[in-house]
Symmetry: C2
Subunit: 483 residues, 2 copies
């Protein structure tokens, strides 16, 4: 077993040695993706796609509970649509791929592949919305989108990715702002209570907001190398897209009025965030609620008791399965238990169940936590309840570990020098005052490589001076280097 | 109420007057889709997308039960990939849109938007498959695909559509053929027992098979205008794509051997088929298992008993909902019961539940079938069971009606003249002998507009002479005009 362990370990670079290398080693060894022959596009192999399916199922349920319905809009967007919202076109034009020929003929107007669908959906909404009775219009789309990125990173930044984009239209600002905040809260709750990823909830600075939004809000997570991932965004679009696409309705006073719109999304980059927040030198560590396999059962012991042990394992497997637990048995004989222990640790399965002949005699099984390594000997007759409890505990454990890590790598600074000194020693976030000027914000970036992540709603403290110019702080901002 | 009925009816052209008009009227009135500004691309509005979600959920379950897992492959396919399989490129090249510019630069190699993914997946499989231990490889993808169609029809033929494509690789021909047949049977069972669409199962003639397949099998359905829709296909690809993409593995004798592959798919055209098989002059008629709303409850009676009736309706609603029935209540006061009856008939909801003050006194409710119009007075205390029974009966009823219709419009012919005479009077399918020559097959098409749908596995009878040349029949074929 120790020999196996060494073999496994040496294939994954330790995080402390080279975090990027660790990430690429891990996703390769865990068989999550393949590079495709198309620049920046990856293949989501079954083990990562299943994570996405679990994310989809849970978010979809939450969207429907909050009154949204799914629809599907075209992949192609006429180039002229992007010209209609000035900031939007500036933000997205550099990343658009264009279809210029189809069916053997040159197209009259180039068609962009959607990078996001505000324009197409805005166009359709102007057709669909006529009266206040049509509002609010609450629609979500699950789709692929493309942004021709210069630098890519599997899951975190790929040219094509999968996401959901909510697009809603409302009678007035208050209702649209309420929706924007509601969906931000759906994302926070989902990240923390489903993915076990603690997030900082706040508003983007003007320079970091979505191209075409009035206000952008985000949840921001810290990876184990101290870098940030924007894990979800919710945009209050005001009447920007309504004016650009003429989304007008007859209001309760019989007047033609512009609708107020929102949009919000999360993407397959959440898979990357899951890996970087929870993984360790053994490989993946999957939070129980999103884990494709929550429990792996491994029968052990000598050949003579094998049939008996496997038979009992299968019985317990059936019990767990019918209780809705995602479980599998590995009873292969051509791999040693030790090899299997390492394999499923590397794949991040939250609980390993071991059952040997002595456990059979005692009516027990051994549960091992992927996260803490804790071994727990439990009665077979209580197995379902014990597993459910332990899964819950592992979720909480993972959340707390991620939160502690973030708190340890999150400094409050009064000056840029302090921030720079911090980054020389550690990697992480800084909480700092900011005067509100673009110049100070971009100066931080030039010096440290860190961007403003967001203006948190609940900062640990209020900072009163700008870290760059020393003037009175307008806001307290989280800065960090981001993926 | 009769006034309302007339108003509704006059907006949908009767099927007998103009079937295409009926179809377009119905999908517009039922709010299923919008035309988009991009040629041939439609928007799937929530009421049609929900049908697709129900199709997806059920098929996905069946695919997983048969050992398949989902993955996701890139949208873009390098043009050179299409050149590798000669028949494939000839079949698909005329329909490909190409991305030629991205991120402000001209691409070195043009990228096709996938019309189907055999080539991309073949390329990846050649990387993934090394040993017989890697086989069978059983993967499915849910995705959008694009085929730049000259003539389009909402749902049935759109430039972009949604589908699933299964792609599997096997050690030998026998295993690949077994998979091909298994998935064809999954489709047949799904069409008949979930969508209530009777289908003809058989093999495509060589001229109608998938570009690059050795053999193509299909399920074919008859619409209410007598035309055919190919509702699903399963392809045995032999080693065609394995040779083109070098999918080789080390077999059990340690020799490098080509894998045998299959592919199979169904698409959002099933939504069109559902509408055209089951709909009638009132509008949509949704088979219970796929219907987004299975039951609509409408409280009736005068204002003074209204609160009491609505309260009881809500209680019964909660019971149905917790039994897993997709139910909704329409208790709006600004629309009359008669208007609502017509509205939900037009939307195809299988069962309407009416509850009025007299029903309250008697402890009953009235159930009305969308299909037969049958009214059934049932005890409120048995409502869940009564609804479940009636949904099952409606499913069977719809299947039998569709089957009778097909049988009535399905003639056995000995000559092309007989077929032509039949088509002058009616519209439908013909069963006929065929010598096996492309010439006779295309002659049928020239004269009648009908193509060979497939060579059914279980024809009603075996025909012994070719309908065109009169020579000995090689096969008994179903001919029909197709969408």
């Amino acid at each position: 077993m120790s020999k196996d362990k060494q073999q496994v370990s040496k294939e994954i670079t330790p995080q402390s040695e080279d975090f990027s290398r660790w990430y690429l080693d891990t996703i390769k060894k865990a068989d999550l993706m393949s590079y495709s022959p198309v620049r920046g596009c990856i293949v989501f192999k079954p083990d990562s796609y299943e994570i996405w399916e679990n994310i989809q199922r849970e978010l979809d349920r939450r969207f429907k509970e909050t009154g949204h319905r799914n629809a599907y809009f075209p992949l192609f967007i006429p180039e002229s649509f992007f010209q209609k919202e000035k900031e939007h076109v500036e933000g997205f034009n550099p990343e658009l791929p264009f279809v210029t020929e189809a069916g053997g003929e040159k197209l009259e107007e180039r068609l962009a592949i959607r990078p996001t669908s505000e324009t197409m959906i805005g166009h359709m909404y102007s057709e669909w919305i006529n009266s206040y009775r049509d509002l609010p219009l609450l629609i979500n789309q699950w789709a692929n989108v493309v942004r021709w990125e210069k630098r890519t990173m599997p899951f975190l930044r790929t040219s094509e990715f999968l996401w959901q984009e909510g697009h809603t239209a409302h009678e007035d600002e208050a209702d649209a702002r309420r929706e924007t905040m509601q969906m931000l809260e759906v994302y926070r709750d989902f990240a923390e209570n489903f993915l076990a990823i603690p997030v900082i909830v706040g508003q983007k600075t003007p320079s970091e907001k979505f191209a075409g939004a009035v206000d952008t809000f985000s949840i921001e997570a810290m990876m184990k190398d101290g870098r940030a991932v924007q894990a979800g965004t919710s945009h209050y679009l005001g009447t920007n897209f309504a004016v650009a696409f003429d989304i007008k309705y007859l209001d309760r006073e019989n007047k033609h009025t512009y609708a107020y719109t929102t949009s919000w999304g999360v993407s397959t980059r959440l898979i990357g965030a899951l890996i970087m927040v929870h993984g360790d030198d053994k490989g993946l560590a999957m939070p129980p609620k999103v884990a494709p396999t929550q429990v792996v059962m491994i029968p052990i012991g000598p050949a003579k008791t094998r049939d008996m042990v496997v038979a009992r394992t299968d019985e317990l497997f059936a019990e767990l399965k019918s209780a809705g637990i995602r479980v599998k048995v590995d009873d292969r004989i051509d791999q040693s238990p030790g090899w299997k222990f390492n394999e499923y640790e590397m794949r991040g399965v939250p609980i390993r169940v071991e059952l040997g002949p002595r456990d059979m005699d005692n009516g027990v099984v051994v549960l091992v936590s992927r996260i803490s390594g804790e071994k727990r000997i439990v009665q077979q007759e209580n197995l379902v309840a014990e597993i459910q409890t332990m899964l819950e505990e592992i979720h909480n454990d993972m959340f707390e570990r991620a939160k502690s890590f973030r708190d340890e790598n999150f400094i409050s600074v009064d000056s840029l020098e302090e921030f720079t000194a911090f980054l020389e020693e550690k990697r992480g976030f800084a909480l700092a005052g900011w005067c509100g000027s673009d110049a100070c914000e971009s100066h931080v970036k030039e010096v440290t490589g860190a961007t403003s992540r967001n203006i948190p709603f609940e900062p640990a403290e209020k900072k009163d001076k700008c870290l760059v110019c020393g003037e009175t702080a307008k806001d307290t901002v989280v800065f960090g280097r981001a993926y």
